[in-house]
């Protein structure tokens, strides 16, 4: 590797893990990692060097125009448009790579799908940084595309069928984000159907042909029934699915052809020629036929993910890579010995890099709320098999090791901890945390399996297959259990609940009556009246966000179908119904509860200082909040310092937190998804605490408009947890992590010095035992010193590779806004006893 072991050791002793990784990884991984373009937006804009790709929107628009007069049903037109993109988009093979496929035409291009929303298209027009050169010429192309899709995009078609009042409130951006679209959110996959090696695209096509023939025969038998009428739609859907699968096979074979052309005509290096021919063989094999090797399995998975993202904007990447790729690893590395551990590590590291570079142009709320990353690619590791046995395997360890070598911020991992996890795996996890990756986050598998059964009725064998649907929420990977689309607009900016209690539901930031018109806050004479108003606002906000999702799920099968995702889903191949059709889904909905803890701290402050101690009147407080605490600094500090804060094992405020959660949980069972299942809440943040900082007004916890909100989930406010890590865990353990909500995010900062050496591991392990014994479902760690982070702020060029845990995801520290950086530094560093 050209560098002495001592040098690596020195770097590790200085905890400069990123430089050590650069020297430890293979030449191939080093090249590929450095050839990768990071795609996350910083603050609200993309960094220099990234551009919006116009190839895809032009291809989509030309095909859509061509099909305008076609007699095809919409779902078939849509499938043909997707096939047109896959057949004609530019493809390339990165030097030294063994895996191929990218959404855009060049590695620094961000793909833009103009078919989703005219609003998004206008964001492209207004974008100040990412329009490619020559700007004037390309603006004209953009204008033509925007003009064509105005009124024809998914959101334009869907919105007129929604409740317009709800739509207006959602699109104000004040109480939530996301869109109620089946092609814009988080798509789970039916991995049990398509990733187990039993079948691949050609097998599904054969199944579709059989079903179409059977349906056609049945439709022409003597008789006329509703069932026969339905068959026409099903045959169209099956045909559309087949079009997308065939396009996927052709697309892969374009790569095979390209690899062969380069190998046979241009490549002079013998070893590389062999690799290119291997790529060709791989892409001729998958996705048409089931994988036989680890390389084929990873390539197959990558193709599936890319095809799905050609069909939709996917803001998450639900996956369980060790579980589904593990058998190939075991066979090749441990049984057949046809692949060395190092070769497997190279493939695994490259798989992470290929995922990290995936990019799609997203709206402002997403660019700001997911700073530094492209989406929440939270991959699930560990856990149990369907029979309850430990599912960890060689691939689990390979993924954890590869992550430390390539140090991408996205994907990250979340590990399903359970009592049978072996020490060698725990040590690998600890190394990732100690080396400052911020991942894996730790998930309590027995608790979350019970939770999945409690809230959504998933049978235990299915619940045990769960993967993260986004940052936090488990979803099975099974026929009826998997979630084809979690529409992100059921994401509540919960600090608005308490804010609206003081404004009778009027939002002063966006000038709109959004919440319920509860009585004037000055009129409340008891805490109970005040809390009742809080409950009313909570129910109102949750309902405004959930109703559009429910409606969109019902409209989706006809108006915004997903033929490709349907084609890789057993329930759709079997039924001929779109994958989002609620009738074939068990339901796995949840409301993401951003900025949740502000409510408990604010309610506690009001209870103590207004109603218990009567130090202030409600009129005093309402006036102070309306004035953003201006001229009331002494009073504000009273609300900051002398009101109890969540996370200190203080029953006064902890019991209020439980009251809030119990009210939300009760209401979650009244809210129903179109499949008839519940809508539990899931407190967490991504970087929504920064995005919403200027959108949430002053609050009774002492926060002013513009101050960063808490970092989310059930994490205490930064710097407000003053009684140590055990007190934090004890507060959090008062919550029933099975029945009070779907999951609860907890951020903790640990000292890198304290985690050094074997002693550090034992301390962390002991902390994890307490965490598990107390029944928490989640915890994640930042383990980078203030000194390093402040140095990175002063001299970002030198600290390009420092990674931090932001919330449900990690990001390179230099890729997040200054305000977010400060917020992370502000978090309490917990000393472990």
């Amino acid at each position: 590797m050209g560098v002495t072991a001592e040098t690596v050791k020195e770097l590790e002793q200085k905890q400069e893990w990123w430089w050590a990784a650069e020297k430890k990884r293979s030449k191939r991984l080093d090249y590929l990692r450095k050839a990768m373009w990071k795609k996350g937006a910083i603050g609200g804009l993309y960094p220099a060097g990234l551009y919006i790709d116009l190839e895809r929107p032009v291809l989509q628009t030309e095909k859509a125009k061509e099909l305008e007069s076609s007699p095809d049903p919409y779902v078939i037109k849509f499938a043909k448009m997707l096939a047109h993109v896959l057949d004609n988009k530019t493809i390339f093979i990165t030097d030294h790579s063994q895996l191929v496929g990218y959404l855009g035409s060049h590695p620094n291009m961000i793909t833009w799908d103009p078919t989703l929303a005219a609003i998004l298209n206008h964001e492209v027009v207004n974008d100040p940084t990412a329009i490619p050169q020559p700007v004037e010429e390309n603006l004209k192309i953009i204008s033509e595309v925007v003009s064509y899709w105005g009124g024809k995009s998914d959101l334009d078609k869907i919105l007129p069928h929604m409740d317009l009042d709800d739509s207006m409130k959602v699109l104000s951006g004040a109480i939530g984000w996301g869109v109620p679209l089946s092609r814009g959110g988080y798509s789970g996959k039916d991995y049990e159907y398509i990733m187990t090696g039993v079948r691949a695209f050609e097998d599904v096509i054969a199944e579709l042909d059989r079903r179409i023939d059977e349906a056609d025969a049945r439709a022409h038998e003597p008789g006329a029934t509703r069932e026969i009428c339905d068959l026409y739609d099903k045959m169209n859907m099956w045909e559309a699915m087949k079009i997308t699968l065939e396009a996927g096979i052709r697309h892969a074979r374009r790569y095979a052809r390209l690899a062969r052309i380069i190998a046979e005509n241009f490549e002079t290096d013998t070893e590389r020629r062999v690799e290119l021919l291997q790529i060709a063989e791989t892409c001729e094999r998958v996705p048409a036929k089931p994988a036989r090797t680890l390389q084929e399995s990873l390539q197959y998975d990558l193709f599936i993910q890319l095809f799905s993202r050609n069909e939709a904007i996917e803001g998450a990447w639900p996956a369980r890579p060790d579980y589904y790729h593990g058998p190939y690893y075991e066979q090749e590395v441990n049984i057949d010995k046809t692949l060395t551990e190092q070769e497997a590590l190279d493939l695994t590291g490259e798989f992470l890099i290929r995922a990290a570079e995936v990019s799609q142009y997203k709206p402002k709320w997403s660019r700001e709320g997911l700073q530094g990353i492209e989406g929440t690619w939270v991959w699930t590791l560990g856990g149990v098999n369907k029979d309850g046995s430990d599912a960890c395997n060689g691939m689990t360890i390979a993924l954890l090791q590869a992550a430390r070598l390539v140090r991408v911020a996205n994907p990250t991992f979340a590990f399903r901890w359970h009592p049978k996890v072996k020490d060698e795996v725990m040590r690998e996890i600890f190394e990732c945390i100690r080396q400052g990756l911020g991942y894996p986050s730790m998930r309590n598998d027995p608790i979350l399996i019970a939770n999945a059964m409690n809230w959504h009725g998933h049978p235990i064998e299915e619940a045990r297959t769960w993967a993260h649907q986004a940052c936090m929420s488990p979803s099975p990977c099974t026929k009826h259990g998997f979630q084809p689309m979690r529409m992100a607009n059921a994401t509540a900016n919960c600090a608005k609940i308490i804010e609206y209690v003081f404004t009778s539901g009027f939002d002063n930031i966006v000038n709109m009556q959004i919440g319920a018109e509860t009585p004037l806050a000055e009129a409340f004479t008891s805490y109970e009246q005040f809390f009742d108003a809080w409950v009313t606002q909570m129910k109102t906000i949750f309902s405004i966000l959930v109703r559009p999702v429910n409606r969109a799920r019902m409209l989706a099968p006809k108006m915004t179908p997903r033929p490709f995702l349907s084609a890789i889903s057993e329930r759709s191949v079997e039924s001929g119904l779109d994958v989002c059709d609620p009738s074939i889904s068990r339901g796995n909905a949840w409301i993401t509860a951003f900025t949740w803890v502000e409510n408990a701290d604010s309610l506690a402050a009001v209870k103590k200082l207004v109603f218990d101690e009567k130090k202030y009147t409600m009129a005093d407080l309402t006036g102070a909040l309306a004035a953003n605490w201006e001229g009331k600094e002494e009073m504000r500090l009273d609300f900051v310092k002398n009101a109890p804060k969540w996370g200190n094992d203080d029953d006064y405020v902890d019991s209020i937190m439980l009251d809030c959660l119990h009210e939300a949980a009760r209401f979650s069972r009244e809210l129903k998804c179109p499949s008839g299942n519940n809508w539990p809440i899931l407190p967490e943040n991504v970087s929504g605490n920064i995005h919403y900082a200027n959108i949430v007004g002053a609050l009774p916890n002492g926060r002013r408009l513009g101050d960063a909100l808490y970092d989310g989930g059930i994490s205490p406010g930064p710097g407000l947890d003053k009684k140590g890590p055990t007190a934090v865990l004890k507060s959090c353990s008062k919550i029933d992590h099975i029945s009070d909500g779907r999951a609860f995010l907890l951020n903790q900062r640990l000292s890198p010095i304290q985690l050094a050496g074997e002693k550090g591991y034992q301390l962390w392990k002991s902390y994890m035992k307490t965490w598990a014994d107390l029944g928490l479902d989640h915890v994640q760690f930042n383990c980078v010193s203030d000194e390093t982070l402040r140095s990175a702020q002063r001299d970002p060029e030198k600290y390009q590779e420092v990674i931090v845990r932001v919330a449900g995801y990690s990001a390179h520290f230099v890729d997040i806004s200054r305000k977010t950086q400060d917020n992370i530094i502000q978090r309490t560093v917990q000393g472990l006893a």
């Binding site: 609003i119 925007v146 699109l171 951006g173 709109m512 959108i695």
Partner: protein
């Protein structure tokens, strides 16, 4: 409260204005008036997207600054929906604002921290 008509919703949200023929030509999106609403201190940009929608913090729903003579409604609750490039030459409440975050890399502040390409040199 009586249900609003579709036209009223369209005005109140600004979202449904993105229909063919309303704001889709190259000229529409590139013509920056002398006094664009996006440079007024009373303009509050949409918190959801940077598509150019926003509301006025002074004028209320029912106003129309594009008519001659303009209509100024100061009563009511909901703000008047506008676009960043709306021509405010007739608006008597116009007050020019300076950008705070000129490079646009911080997070959105609906009131003060907006940055779009067309206003880059303004």
């Amino acid at each position: 409260m009586a249900r609003k008509s579709r036209e009223e919703y369209a005005k109140a949200s600004g979202v449904f204005g993105l229909q063919p023929g309303t704001l889709n030509s190259h000229e529409d999106t590139e013509t920056v008036p002398e006094r664009p609403c996006g440079l007024c201190k009373h303009f509050s940009e949409s918190a959801w997207s940077s598509d150019g929608r926003g509301s006025c913090k002074v004028l209320k729903e029912g106003s129309d600054i594009t008519r001659d003579p303009p209509v100024f409604s100061l009563e009511g609750k909901n703000g008047y929906m506008l676009r960043i490039l709306t021509d405010a030459k007739q608006c008597t409440y116009y007050e020019r604002n300076e950008f705070i975050d000129k490079d646009g890399y911080e997070c959105s502040d609906p009131a003060y921290r907006r940055f779009i390409r067309q206003l880059r040199d303004k």
